[in-house]
Symmetry: C2
Subunit: 108 residues, 2 copies
């Protein structure tokens, strides 16, 4: 399993998130996925390799062409990490300070 | 609001995730947060600046020292992005290919 560092680093790039979004519609050939992106195929393939390294896509060979399929399981650890903070993100900064003050008082 | 790129890039580093975990217990002085990390204060402050730039921590001045407080709101967009993939991450690769095949058949 790829580390959370690798997975987060992989999805921190908009091109790589677009590739995942495309693959959420189904497996596709690399050249077809690459077509809309304003970059060389070599540049595009670097992004694909980062996604592979993070375990987020799998490459399978169909005839002459490589096909990519989404492998979303590593995203589960991202969800688990981020949902630990759910209690905090609806609080404004001023309320957050009060929240922590109350929490500290409670624990004393 | 910081972009999703900045937020994901910021949390892709284990030191920066540890800082957020520490701040989930309440605001703290930078020097106190830095103490357990095996790096220079200068190196540590670079991580803090990346978190600030991503909107994930806020710095407030208390006397001579800067205090950091968690600002978790940008994590909400991470959760929203990642939860879009929830339907996929419990499927194994072989079942995923079947899932897509069935989906494609349905849409034809």
């Amino acid at each position: 399993m790829a580390t959370l560092d690798h997975v987060l680093g992989a999805i921190a790039d908009p091109t790589r998130r677009s590739i995942l979004a495309r693959l959420a519609d189904g497996p596709a050939r690399i050249s077809d996925i690459a077509a809309p992106f304003p970059m060389s195929l070599t540049g595009f393939c670097k992004h694909v390799r980062i996604l592979e390294h993070a375990g987020l896509v799998k490459r399978t060979r169909h005839g002459r062409e490589n096909t990519l399929v989404l492998s979303a399981r590593p995203l589960k650890q991202v969800a688990e990490w981020v949902l630990d903070y759910e209690q905090f993100w609806n609080l404004r900064l001023d309320r957050l300070e009060k929240f922590f003050a109350a929490k500290q008082e409670k624990s004393q």
